[in-house]
């Protein structure tokens, strides 16, 4: 299989879906003439023209809401947030207008829209630009939340998201844009269903549940731990909502030990929900309390050393694995 970057994978997903469906258009800051702040939309303006690839002013609430309005009458917008930290100034649009419309209208208006862009901490961007918004957005019924970790998942999930008739957030990662991994040839129609986790590495002893940025850390931790005789199963959620409870339950029922590695803050975070569901569903299967590796509970510091101390890491994951093994 060829290897392409996560960035290229997202670009291909948008290109293929725009070729397939004239109702799909891309809108956001710097997506057109600048070719994307992170070059994810490189070349799309040339291919599809200014009618379908639109630069906006710095008006997140304005263009997010415009997208939702257009979706009410059947267009299928892809709204790019330069980062999901900036989606917070469009919060009302994303959490009120997009997911509530179907219910509020008694089923008359569905909103086929994708909000996408980088999410979570990158490198020394400070407190305002480092938000992990997945736990916020996962709290709103009516939104689907995808968190791809690999190029293949990025492409397959984004294509599916664009075809979904509901609002879907595709939370990418700036730190992954340059990472290459295997993806099927362009001729292959790559669609990955929302709500299906994937076991990225099989193991018998401990399950590490992870997503987006923490998948690489977990795989790397698993390599190290294998040398010490601990066989780790790495379970990549791929989508947080809908959550693939079946795959989680299956894996933890096998390993009986679980570490959740997440890139967001711990309080009311993704791991809190998953740990709750595991103990509710398979309490008797657990041989140790579930541990979570998340950010420290502080606003993100700029200083590189302090930032590293806040973030989850391979080392923190390894330590947590030892603890659930009582080692």
């Amino acid at each position: 299989m060829r290897e392409i970057t996560y960035r290229q994978a997202l670009n291909e997903a948008m290109e293929e879906e725009m070729l397939r469906d004239p109702d799909v258009f891309l809108i956001g800051e710097e997506v057109a003439e600048y070719n994307g702040a992170y070059k994810v939309s490189q070349g799309l303006l040339d291919k599809f023209g200014p009618k379908r690839v639109l630069d906006t002013p710095i008006s997140e609430a304005g263009f997010a809401g415009l997208g939702i309005g257009a979706a009410m009458v059947g267009l299928r917008p892809i709204v790019e947030f330069m980062t999901f930290s900036f989606s917070l100034v469009a919060f009302d649009q994303v959490v009120n207008n997009a997911p509530n419309m179907l219910t509020m209208s008694g089923g008359q208006f569905h909103i086929p829209i994708v909000f996408r862009g980088p999410n979570g901490p990158a490198h020394q961007l400070g407190a305002t630009h480092s938000h992990s918004t997945e736990s916020l957005y996962s709290n709103f019924p009516g939104l689907k939340v995808a968190v791809p970790a690999t190029a293949r998942d990025a492409k397959g999930l984004l294509k599916t998201a664009i075809r979904d008739d509901n609002p879907v957030l595709v939370l990418e990662s700036e730190l992954l844009y340059n990472v290459s991994s295997p993806v099927e040839e362009k001729e292959f129609e790559l669609l990955i269903p929302l709500g299906q986790a994937e076991v990225k590495r099989e193991g018998q002893d401990v399950t590490i549940i992870c997503y987006a940025q923490t998948v690489r850390m977990a795989l790397s931790a698993a390599d190290d731990l294998a040398q010490h005789g601990i066989r780790v199963e790495v379970l990549d959620l791929r989508t947080i909502k809908p959550l693939d409870r079946e795959t989680i339950v299956h894996s933890v029922s096998k390993t009986h030990r679980c570490v959740i590695a997440e890139q967001n803050k711990p309080f009311c975070g993704i791991g809190a929900e998953i740990a709750f569901q595991i103990q509710r569903d398979i309490f008797d299967e657990l041989d140790a309390p579930i541990l979570r590796v998340a950010q420290e509970e502080v606003p993100m510091p700029y200083n590189e050393t302090l930032e590293a101390a806040v973030l989850p890491s391979k080392e923190k994951i390894i330590e947590a694995v030892y603890r659930v093994c009582y080692l």
């Binding site: 415009l66 997208g67 009458v73 207008n97 179907l102 689907k144």
Partner: protein, 336 residues
């Protein structure tokens, strides 16, 4: 009981499509419907918030008389009148207030979230200013598809100080979107007078900041509203661009049913009641010989009858079932 109740034959005869009696009748329908709703609210048959349009009827009735059926309509939470003026039945509207499955939003939206897709009524939105970007999206879709329909976006004077207002108007002007923004200036954002909320003396001057043509209209005169909106829509259809209109009006009731409106004087209220859009237009039609008193009584009786029927329909309708609870979270059903 049928969801749609037909007009009495003699009333139907009065309301030929071109007849201005239609304008009067629409205003009466809204007024009588909301009077009934108000009573039902006080009897605790209607829950939540309930914002009445009484006093402002000429704005929406005049405006919608100038639209085509395929034009998109979107408004804020004081929305009963917009649905009624678009033709949504009083039964579906009242049932929605009662939270019944037969309501225009299946009882899931309530007073602030009336929707009627079949009549291009796009809601009913309850976060002040939050629907203005949606209006630009509707207009964007028309432009994208090369259609020449217009979007009418109604908003209150309170909404003009929201960030979403600014972002949406800038985008609409920048991209020359076919949208008419109609500010229903009833002088109060809840209990705060517009002069205590907006930095400009005249709301319409806000449009200048977006290089957008604007107009001030009398929102108490239905003919004036119709003609003003017709002028704006003609201009938009000829060459797509946004247009801004300030409709000066007044609400006789409080901000919502729970508001005693102590922030204004009785004298002020009385002054505006002297300009009542229904009473005034009735007098005009009588003076012009287009209607006699008996015909007026017939129209009013019909509006009252339909409102009473709507109330009965709502009371007799069924609640949505618990089985429907998860049906509308996602378009393809529940998320497991």
């Amino acid at each position: 009981m049928p969801a749609t109740i037909s007009l009495e034959n003699n009333v139907a005869a009065l309301l030929s499509k071109e007849s201005e009696l239609n304008l009067l009748y629409q205003m009466l329908l809204i007024r009588r419907f909301e009077e009934r709703a108000s009573q039902a609210y006080q009897q605790q048959k209607i829950g939540g918030f309930c914002h009445l349009y009484i006093g402002q009827e000429a704005v929406v009735v005049g405006a919608l008389a100038a639209t085509r059926d395929d034009d998109y309509i979107i408004t804020a939470y004081r929305d009963h009148a917009h649905a009624i003026a678009r033709g949504t039945s009083l039964t579906a509207c009242m049932a929605e207030l009662f939270g019944k499955a037969t309501g225009c939003s299946r009882g899931l939206g309530g007073s602030m979230h009336f929707f009627d897709r079949s009549r291009n009524m796009y809601g009913g939105h309850a976060i002040v200013g939050g629907h203005i970007p949606l209006a630009t999206g509707l207009a964007f879709a028309s432009q994208y598809r090369g259609e020449n329909r217009c979007t009418l976006c109604f908003l209150g004077d309170g909404a003009i100080n929201q960030g979403a207002f600014h972002e949406a108007l800038n985008l609409a002007a920048l991209w020359k979107l076919p949208v008419l923004f109609i500010v229903e200036n009833n002088l109060f954002g809840m209990g705060t007078h517009v002069t205590r909320a907006a930095s400009v003396k005249e709301i319409a001057t806000r449009a200048k900041g977006y290089d957008m043509p604007s107009m001030i209209a009398s929102g108490m005169e239905v003919r004036h509203m119709r003609d003003a909106v017709q002028t704006a829509l003609n201009a938009i259809r000829k060459k797509p661009h946004p247009f801004f209109m300030e409709a000066r009006t007044y609400r006789y009731r409080g901000h919502s049913m729970s508001d005693p409106a102590t922030y204004r004087t009785k004298e002020e209220l009385e002054k505006y009641k002297q300009e009542d859009p229904i009473t005034d237009f009735k007098a005009i039609l009588l003076a012009e010989g287009k209607m006699d008193e008996a015909q007026f009584q017939e129209l009013d009786r019909e509006a009252k009858r339909l409102s009473a029927e709507a109330l009965r329909f709502a009371e007799e309708s069924l609640d949505p079932t618990l089985a429907d609870l998860y049906k509308y979270t996602f378009v393809n059903g529940a998320e497991k």
